[in-house]
Amino acid sequence: MRRRLLFWPLSLIFGLLLLGSFGRPTLGNLSLDFDRFYQTIYSQHGEQRARLAVTWQKMLERTKTLPDQQKLIEVNNFVNKVVYYQSDISNNQVKDHWASIAETFGKGAGDCEDYAIAKYVTLRLAGVDDSHLRLIYVKAFYGGRTQAHLVLGYYPTPNSMPLILDNLIGEVKLANTRQDLKPVFSFNSRGLWAGLSKATKSNPMARLSRWQQVMSKIEREGISLR
């Protein structure tokens, strides 16, 4: 009896150590530290905005079991519904600011890349593989004029036509039905983290691309997509 009492805390410590080593974010490891995510929004934007995170998490739990096509629709609708379009200059007094999902939710507003990033992150967390997703720079004809725009594309197979998630048109549609968009360049997280050590990431002097910056920020806010 006594021996088991002694054994119990030992095994607990050992187990914790084991858990600790597994719990660390490694490449290809998705994780959501919801408390941290919630706290980030709560501390900067107040409880009311933070409640959105709870709704978002519930939606995420619900969609996790759905097929990819359903996930796309759910996430697209959710993000389009909770985020109001606002150009970067009026929102952040900065031209072309890439906001993290916590920032976007916190403000409840964002421009095209903020939508795309929020949808991308949410879909990744919902279990969609990175190889299916691309952030695509497009030339958009909207309201009678052309403008630079960023959308999220979903490729069911590598060679297929992508489905486009966009804030201009709320519906998830095949790319070739979107006559208003013309693709220019696409990218995703592949290759983003390769060779990027933790030391480099935490080094304030390191030059990071805007994409890397926003992904790092998201990671700091509790979401790891590595």
């Binding site: 691309r134 490729y155 990218f187 290759g191 050590s197 030059r207």
Partner: protein, 644 residues
């Protein structure tokens, strides 16, 4: 291990430590810098190439050209284009050979893990492929390697400079230490020297402490030797005149008679203060004492004026009325006796108004083969003869025999000069043993070999002294002995007696030292001088010791005993031994307690300053046991026979 060596090891060790630390720090920062730069380059170039490919017509040739152009003009290891399924569509690789300048172990030690640049190429809405770009990392390795080599070189240079500076500083710091060590060694050799106090605090304290020790020991030695000397003097001398008392005078006579050199001529003069009782009655006790003192002073004065004519003088007061003078190795005594007669008569004359003072004297010569009883009887008879004359006069026995029957002064000069030219100065060796009868060395006695005849030192030395030829004779004898020692004819150590005249003649002295230095057998050479001569001229002796001691010679005094009060003054020169005068050693087992305790005290004092004490003139080897109990280290004399 020397301090300098330890310093070098410390510096090298420290520099290695510093080198590795700073090398790893700098390499680590350089390495992460290179990795970052290569990452950025890979990623940027992949993206810009992918952007360009996305924009243009997907003509296979154009795509390949564009990739080839990028690959060939830039520094790349690999540029690869994969199709959307991940299969290879196009690949340009360049097997980078690691430059010979960078060894493989270095690459393994500092691996550069650079991420590939990955970018997506679009064909309209559709994916065209994935572009993978890897840069050539050779330059980074080369640069790191070069940096390390430079680092190594600079650290090597810095270590050398630091070491040199350290050595220099250490030398300056420890230069006072040399003196300290010298002093410590001197004290170890029981030479209690004092040295200058260095400026360095720690050394200063050390040297001051050692100086205090030296000074204390010296004071102690001085006190001890003074006490001994006082004891000896009181025991051996007449309190009034300072002349040797009867016992001591007899001992001195015995030691002269014990001389190996049976041909040496010695003189004995007796003087009697006639009617002393009467004088005492008419002058009173005090005035009589003054008169006796005057007689003694007059005697010394007169004899001193003739000190070139003999070797050693001993003044004795045999009884209340009788004075005695013994002169060893005298060549001729006519002039001296005459002078004494005149001076004494003059002195007696100064008392003519007060009292009738008569100083009859008797003089005779004797050789070492004579006996004490014989001499005393003869002298008494002569003195009675003189006394009968009732006036101050000197009666001399066989005048002619005192003077050399064969040669006059001119003949002696010629003989000595011839002997020096023909190198006929030779030596007769007498063994000197330690207390266990093991040989210490052999004492060399000077002889002249002239036409089959051997002339002993006692015969020619008085003449040589008169002609100032002692330095040449000493040099000739030393040269002869060194030659014999070098050739192997003499295998043991040899002691040479030198005259103080040789030390005063600087040319002769330097020549002598040169020949000793050149001989290569200096460590077997013992050099000794008579204590009496040394005490009269300590300066020359000290100078001589400073010159010969470094050669390895041993230096000592012989016929020692009366100069013990000054012996502590000689401890600084590193005296090795003293030979105690046979007058003290003679019949040691029958000597009185005071003489024994003097000898014992001399041994203790001598040992405390590192001296070896050797007894001279022992007649019977059995006496060596008595000498051992007194603390003597060795003995010489007729009683010493070497066992073969």
């Amino acid at each position: 291990m020397s301090l300098v060596k330890q310093l070098w090891i410390a510096i090298i060790g420290l520099m290695i430590l510093v080198f590795f630390t700073s090398f790893f720090i700098s390499t680590y920062s350089a390495k992460s810098y290179y990795i970052e730069q290569l990452n950025l380059k890979n990623s940027d170039n992949a993206n810009s190439l992918a952007l360009m490919l996305s924009q243009m017509e997907k003509d296979e040739v154009m795509v390949e050209l564009l990739i080839a152009a990028q690959f060939d003009t830039g520094n790349y290891k690999r540029i690869e284009l994969l199709d959307p399924n991940g299969d290879e569509r196009l690949s340009k690789t360049h097997e980078v050979e690691i430059s010979a300048q960078v060894p493989q172990w270095f690459k393994a030690l500092i691996p550069l893990k650079v991420g590939k640049g990955i970018a997506q190429v679009q064909d309209g809405w559709q994916q065209y492929g994935t572009l993978i770009v890897e840069s050539d990392d050779r330059f980074a390795y080369e640069s790191l390697w070069k940096t390390m080599l430079q680092f190594l070189m600079w650290f090597f240079v810095a270590a050398l400079i630091l070491g040199a500076i350290g050595t220099w500083v250490l030398r300056i710091l420890t230069s006072p230490l040399e003196d300290v060590v010298k002093q410590a060694e001197a004290i170890g050799g029981r030479r209690f020297i004092t040295s200058e106090e260095p400026k360095t605090l720690e050394f200063n304290r050390l040297v001051r402490a050692m100086n205090t020790l030296s000074a204390r020991v010296r004071t102690m030695l001085e006190n001890e030797s003074r006490r001994l000397e006082e004891m000896r003097y009181k025991n051996q001398h007449d309190a009034l005149t300072g002349f040797a008392n009867r016992e001591f005078f007899v001992s001195k006579l015995e030691s002269v008679l014990a001389n190996e050199d049976k041909n040496a001529r010695n003189a004995m003069i007796f003087l009697r203060v006639a009617n002393l009782v009467k004088i005492n009655q008419s002058l009173g006790h005090e005035k009589t004492d003054a008169l006796l003192k005057g007689v003694a002073e007059k005697i010394i004065q007169t004899i001193r004026q003739h000190d070139k004519e003999f070797d050693e003088s001993t003044f004795g007061r045999l009884s209340g009325t009788d004075f005695a003078i013994m002169l060893s190795n005298i060549q001729e005594m006519d002039a001296l006796a005459k002078a004494l007669e005149v001076f004494m008569a003059t002195y007696a004359n100064t008392y003519k108004d007060q009292v009738e003072l008569q100083l009859p004297m008797a003089a005779s010569s004797f050789k070492a083969n004579d006996s004490r009883q014989n001499i005393f009887q003869k002298m008494d008879a002569l003195l009675v003869k003189a006394e009968n004359e009732q006036q101050t006069l000197l009666v001399m026995e066989d005048k002619g025999a005192v003077q050399d029957g064969l040669k006059n002064s001119q003949q002696w000069r010629e003989l000595l000069e011839k002997a020096l030219d023909a190198s006929s100065v030779v030596a007769q060796l007498f063994p000197v043993v330690d207390i266990k009868n093991r040989p210490l060395h052999h004492e060399a006695m000077m002889r002249l070999k002239v036409e089959e005849n051997t002339i002993t030192a006692g015969e020619f030395l008085p003449w040589a002294r008169r002609f100032d030829m002692l330095p040449q004779l000493d040099m000739a004898l030393t040269a002869y002995l060194l030659e014999q020692m070098k050739s192997g004819a003499i295998r043991h150590s040899v002691a040479v007696n030198l005259a103080i005249e040789t030390l005063k003649n600087l040319d002769a002295r330097d020549q002598l030292i040169e020949s000793i230095k050149a001989s290569g057998v200096a460590d077997r050479l013992w050099l000794e001088l008579p204590e009496r001569a040394v005490m009269e001229d300590i300066g020359h002796f000290v100078e001589f010791c400073e010159l010969v001691k470094p050669l390895g010679c041993k230096v000592g005094l012989d016929k020692a005993g009366s100069g013990f009060a000054n012996i502590s003054r000689l401890q600084e020169v590193g005296l090795d031994y003293i030979k105690i005068d046979s007058a003290l050693i003679h019949n040691i087992s029958k000597q009185d307690q005071e003489t024994k305790s003097f000898v014992r005290g001399a041994c203790t004092l001598g040992h405390s300053i590192g001296l070896q004490l050797i007894a001279e003139g022992i007649q019977d080897f059995q006496e060596i046991n008595e000498l051992e109990t007194l603390g003597m280290d060795g003995a010489t004399g007729p009683g010493v026979q070497l066992r073969n």
